[in-house]
């Protein structure tokens, strides 16, 4: 009995969906009237032409190539079924290469901004209608070349011409013997006082020209001041110790000190062993200079040039040793330490001004005066920029934002 009941249940389960589908069949017409779907198997015509050339319209660094093509005959006319173009780039002739971009129909120009300067590329282009692509058109090879003149940096040229004109003018005026006014920098008096104090105490002067290379403008300014200091020590017959962290700086420092001693008329007092190369390693250099401060006990420590994290180590040790200390650097991050631990500090451009003030060299004076008036020009341009922004002339400000 139970078996028969199971069979009945199974039969019912089979019949029920079939009955439902029969009802559905009765409700729907047997032949549905739909629009016939026509598959587009005819590819569109290929682009008429393809030309590639180095991008020249605006200044570039050779990292752009310009690609132009003629529209496919089926783009906007003919079958009017072109939906876009596929642009590819390869390094070898005949290769399809990587797909660079998919471009909308109606467009005839593309700038490839991802090329390696000097590398030759081959380009190919197909049009497509969404189902099938056209035949491929080829062009190349072309390489991106940097423009001879960077128009985007024209503003740099203009300002450099203005700056050099001012420097040349002031240098010429100074060269003719005219007295160009440069205000006294307080820290400069301190240098002579410090050397004088060392002489009175019969102890050496320590001059640290920083740890910058000779190409660093601060090191060059420092060597000019070193010349002045060496002349004073030569005159007073006070030992001058110059520890350096760079071999080339040591060579230059030797030349400068030797020359200064000769000019003063005391060449015999020059001791080449006092111009020392210690180490290129920053903290090894700092440690060794600290050792000199404690063992040779200089009465005056002069730190002029480019300094980094060793500045406070040096200045603090010199302070503990009781030396009079004068520092000068344009390293903004290190100035706070020198201001804190030294008796006098030449801040930023005062370092450069000091070398011009002390030497009275026409070229240095011309440079100082030129950069002074360049500041006036800069303030005027900033004021003009503020006004330009206020009246909506953003292009004036953008002229200064070079890449």
């Amino acid at each position: 009995m139970r078996r028969v009941f199971h069979i009945l249940l199974v039969l019912l389960a089979l019949i029920a969906p079939a009955a439902g589908s029969l009802e559905a069949l009765e409700a729907t017409p047997i032949i549905e009237e739909t629009e016939p779907v026509l598959l587009d198997v005819v590819p569109p015509g290929p682009p008429c032409s393809l030309t590639v050339r180095d991008y020249l319209e605006n200044s570039d660094f050779g990292d752009k190539i310009e690609i132009e093509w003629g529209l496919s005959p089926d783009d906007g006319s003919g079958a009017c079924d072109v939906t876009g173009y596929i642009l590819s780039r390869a390094l070898a002739e005949g290769e399809v290469g990587e797909v660079l971009d998919e471009i909308s129909s109606g467009v005839t120009r593309y700038i490839d901004e991802s090329v390696e300067p000097g590398v030759e590329y081959y380009y190919n282009l197909v049009s497509h209608d969404g189902t099938s692509p056209s035949g491929r058109v080829w062009a190349g090879p072309t390489a991106g070349r940097a423009n001879l003149f960077q128009w985007s940096r024209f503003s740099v040229l203009v300002l450099m011409v203005v700056f050099f004109a001012m420097v040349a003018r002031f240098t010429a005026v100074a060269g003719k013997g005219a007295k160009l006014f440069v205000r006294r920098i307080p820290g400069l008096n301190a240098i002579e006082e410090a050397v004088g104090r060392a002489t009175e105490m019969g102890r050496p002067v320590l001059y640290v020209p920083g740890i910058g290379e000779i190409d660093n403008i601060m090191t060059i300014a420092s060597l000019n001041i070193l010349s002045h200091v060496a002349k004073i020590t030569a005159r007073y017959d006070t030992p001058l110790i110059v520890p350096t962290a760079r071999a080339v700086v040591m060579s230059a420092a030797e030349e400068v000190v030797k020359q200064a001693y000769t000019e003063v008329g005391n060449p015999d007092a020059y001791n080449p062993d006092n111009i020392r190369y210690l180490s290129d390693a920053q903290f090894a250099f700092a440690g060794a200079v600290n050792g000199i401060m404690l063992r040779e006990k200089p009465a005056a420590n002069l730190y002029m040039g480019a300094f980094w994290a060793e500045s406070l180590l040096l200045a603090e040790t010199g302070f503990e040793a009781g030396a009079i200390q004068v520092a000068g650097t344009a390293m903004v991050s290190q100035l706070p330490f020198f201001v804190t631990a030294c008796d006098f500090t030449l801040m930023g451009e005062e370092l450069y001004a000091a070398s011009a003030y002390l030497s009275r060299e026409p070229k240095l004076l011309g440079g100082l005066k030129g950069s002074d008036w360049m500041k006036v020009v800069s303030i005027a341009l900033i004021a003009a920029g503020i006004i330009a922004r206020a009246v909506g002339l953003e292009s004036f400000v953008a002229w200064f934002q070079t890449q």
């Binding site: 300002l159 450099m160 060579s251 903004v332 341009l381 900033i382 503020i386």
Partner: protein
């Protein structure tokens, strides 16, 4: 075992350097001379393999670095002789009679770098700064910034005495500079303290295993 030995050497050298805080002593002298001597030797090797060998020796003597032939097939190999000779000229100072020749190298080196640096400095430190500071005076911050900039530039103007209006502006400039220096000082002291923490952690954790 090797780790323990090296850590102990590091710890002893660290303590030797810190002993300088008390006063100059033989331990500090030893550590100082050790680091100066080692760094001199280290930089000699670094400079040779990073600069002299690839830029001078390899192109001239057709050496190879790894699998790459340096200078092989290059018709411009002789260009490498120029910096090589200029470098050698620096050693003429050991011969007093010809010592002046070394100044050529220095002159080319300094002049070349100064020339190369001119355009980027004018662009980055003058032009772009002019553009960045041409701000609309629509907020207190912008006004503050412009006043500070004007004052600071005036302070570094050397062609006139700082009297009258220039004197007032220069005084404003120095106030801005000192505030900036104070902030920079505090920030750097924080980073130095973190270096100290690193060393103390090395001594107490890596060496003594106390923390």
């Amino acid at each position: 075992m090797a780790t323990i030995i090296w850590t102990t050497i590091g710890a002893i050298l660290t303590l030797s350097v810190y002993s300088f805080l008390y006063k100059d002593n033989p331990f500090y002298k030893f550590a100082e001379h050790l680091v100066v001597g080692i760094s001199a030797g280290y930089y000699l090797v670094i400079y040779y393999f990073n600069f002299i060998q690839p830029n001078v020796v390899a192109p001239v003597f057709l050496l190879r670095i790894g699998n790459e032939a340096i200078g092989l097939g290059s018709s411009m190999w002789w260009l490498a002789l120029i910096p090589g000779i200029l470098g050698l000229l620096l050693y003429t100072r050991f011969f007093p009679k010809f010592g002046w020749v070394g100044r050529w190298s220095l002159g080319i080196y300094v002049g070349g770098y100064a020339g190369l640096g001119l355009s980027p400095i004018m662009q980055a430190r003058v032009l772009n700064q002019i553009g960045a500071n041409a701000l609309p005076l629509t907020s207190i911050t912008n006004v503050f910034l412009i006043v500070g900039l004007l004052g600071t530039l005036t302070y570094f103007f050397f062609s006139m005495k700082h009297k009258g209006v220039l004197g007032v502006l220069a005084r404003v400039g120095i106030v801005f500079l000192m505030v900036g220096f104070g902030a920079s000082f505090g920030y750097t002291v924080m980073s130095r303290v973190s270096l100290l923490i690193g060393r103390v952690s090395f001594l107490l954790h890596d060496w003594l295993h106390l923390i």
